[in-house]
């Protein structure tokens, strides 16, 4: 019986030889990065960049763009322009122009979410300016632009210049009722691309932006933060007594706790307590860091400055009415389900009182005493 079985098995397999779903590597054009721009009449302009790796031709990447009602509509158009089978499985970066994001990204994001071939680890980013132009331009001193952007975002998020924003996180925060999604913003700067800030979303709609200098602070307040550099002018706190005081440190460990206090009458009071330890890399000033008292003074100064800036940042978020820090999640978890449902968080959010308490501690201060 077994013998017959085995023969049967082999025969069926042989019959089934021809499959039609071949995706042979060199015959497919895997989109590496895609850009989305607003086009007139509510259309979108889509640009894609496909890396070519044929050693016989000089081409590094293939670029296509088309305008269409939806992203899939545009895709059909440029699928006709290439000899390769277009696939989405290797998309790494999605770039949306700020203009498009201000309208609403829900169509674009949903079509991406529906596509089983797209990885949840796709990076989502906004572009200050025209996304297609940024993607299509060749930056002389960098890798091919698509890869350049991908690595830039990757590096920035591992170094905590920006929070990690993949499709998974973006979608997760969108659906969570206690937090709003964010995405980094890129900007073309002469022959380079830089991170311009963090885009704040309400739903899939781009609302406002956090500028570069506050990004690290934002990351600290958002929690889950490991490593990042920060420089501070310490003069602003005290009256200027002639000396210039500046500190530069790398945060090594940070943790954040959010405490919610409900007042019977009056707004909800939220305290964001963040402790972080850092190594001081640079210090310009009169104090001697090896002295405990002096160091504590510096630490206190840093903490004060940061707390104050944190409060300002939260104010700004409240003005935009975007809960990008996820305060809502903690408020929600501090009350009953019914009360939370009764509370209209987006109305309540701008009214709540938020207090940032950031404590800095110098773990070490380098080789000089």
């Amino acid at each position: 019986m077994n013998k017959i079985m085995r023969i049967l098995l082999v025969v069926t397999i042989l019959i089934m030889l021809p499959g039609c779903d071949y995706r042979i590597l060199e015959r497919i054009g895997f989109t590496y990065a895609a850009s989305y721009d607003a086009a007139p009449e509510n259309q979108v302009e889509i640009g894609i960049s496909i890396p070519r790796a044929d050693p016989t031709i000089d081409l590094v990447r293939e670029l296509h763009s088309a305008v269409g009602k939806s992203s899939k509509d545009a895709r059909v158009k440029f699928a006709n322009e290439t000899d390769l089978l277009l696939v989405n499985g290797q998309i790494r970066v999605l770039l949306y122009s700020e203009a498009l994001a201000r309208k609403d990204l829900s169509n674009e994001i949903n079509s991406i979410l529906r596509d089983t071939s797209i990885s949840p680890l796709v990076k989502i980013s906004l572009v200050n300016g025209n996304a297609k132009d940024m993607l299509f331009k060749d930056y002389k001193q960098h890798l091919s632009t698509d890869k350049y952007i991908n690595r830039l975002l990757e590096k920035a998020s591992t170094n905590n210049r920006i929070p990690k924003t993949t499709l998974y996180e973006f979608e997760r925060d969108y659906y969570d009722d206690g937090i709003d999604p964010i995405a980094p913003i890129l900007k073309e700067q002469a022959e380079d691309i830089t991170v311009d800030g963090i885009g704040l979303f309400r739903g899939y709609k781009y609302i406002g932006k956090i500028y570069n200098k506050d990004v690290l602070l934002f990351s600290i307040l958002r929690g889950k933060f490991k490593k990042g550099d920060m420089g501070l002018d310490l003069d602003s706190v005290r009256d200027n007594d002639g000396s210039h005081e500046y500190i530069m440190f790398t945060s090594v460990v940070s943790n954040r706790a959010v405490h919610v206090k409900h007042n019977a009458n009056g707004p909800i009071h939220v305290t964001i307590a963040a402790n972080f330890k850092g190594s001081i890399h640079e210090y310009i000033g009169d104090l001697k860091l090896s002295k405990d008292a002096d160091r504590h003074q510096v630490e206190k100064k840093v903490s004060e400055i940061l707390s104050e800036r944190g409060n300002r940042l939260v104010k700004q978020l409240q003005q935009y009415n975007v809960d990008s820090l996820g305060i809502g999640m903690h408020v929600r978890n501090s009350m009953s389900y019914e009360a939370w449902k009764a509370l209209n968080w987006s109305e309540e959010y701008p009214r709540i009182k938020v207090d940032c308490q950031i404590h800095f501690k110098a773990k070490d201060y380098g080789k000089i005493r």
Binding site: N2, Y175, D176
Partner: protein
Amino acid sequence: MENNEKLSPFHTTILVFMIQSGVMALILPQLLAETFGTNGWITVFGFGIIATVNILLIAAVYKLGKGRSIFQILEQSIPRFMLIPIYLALAVVWTLLGCMAGKEYILIFQMYAFPTTNPMEFKLIMDLLVFWLLTKGLYNITKTSTIFFWLFIWMVLLAFFFYSDFNWARLTPFLFKGGKFTYLESLDIYSSFLGYEIVLLLFAYTNQKTKLIKATLIGNSVTTLTYCYLAFITFGVYSLGQLKNKAFPVLEMMAYIRFPFMERMENLLFGFILFTVLFSILMYEWCALEMLKHIFPKLKANFLAFMLMLMCFIVAYIPDTINDVGDWLSTLSMIECGIAFGLPLLLLIVLMFQSMGSRLAHE
């Protein structure tokens, strides 16, 4: 060799686990989120307990029947011509159940790869594997299940990948809020636990050493714990709204896993789920085969197995969309829930009559 080899407790445990876990595990977290809302993963325990109660019911049959097979119990009191329709009905339900589970698996796979290939090609190979196993007899089936178990269970370790994205705050302190409870959906959830009822047919293959009931209970708890762990991780990694919106949250989670040498693990790992799916199918077909053997005692088992798999293959042609298959599967699982509780009850009643009869005879 096969006939005198009785099942060992460990193999029975593994077998029960392998039958229970199947395609439904991929959808389970979504169903939980939709039906129970926040912290729906806790209800997995509840379902596990219901299954335990059902197993205890089967235990009663096993004990009162003194290890006789259900055929012996039934045929002692009920005339054969009345039993044959019951056997046939059970065989049909089990055949279809196995058949649809297989088709569902293949259709899901086709969303990720091979979208245009005829699903029946995959089904054919799958059915061939099932047929091959069917002809090998129960003892070899359990041996295979052990290996398949090891090939499958290592994937639980992959949950480590999600620890960094797991957030307790996302679980929320609310219990079962924001869900829409319907009996139909919860039956669907319960259907992912089905499979333990198959031990009813294992009576004849066991002896005292098998500790059948204990092994089944352990198998069921392993399933419950695995499901619970899976659901727990899913609930902590995805926000509730997101989870409700995902068709196959577990598959998508697998896509998140990335090794330096390999990405998008769902393409490969989904293949590994075949091992447990194959077993769910196999054991339902095996049960149907047992039934057929009693309906047609004169026919050869291998011939019956062949006809069974042929039927299974042909029926799989009928529903061709993922929703159709899902509907069939829900309907069948509902019937199967009924069988899981009904059959042991019927057997208990028969046994009670039998013991009363024997007592009367004694007097």
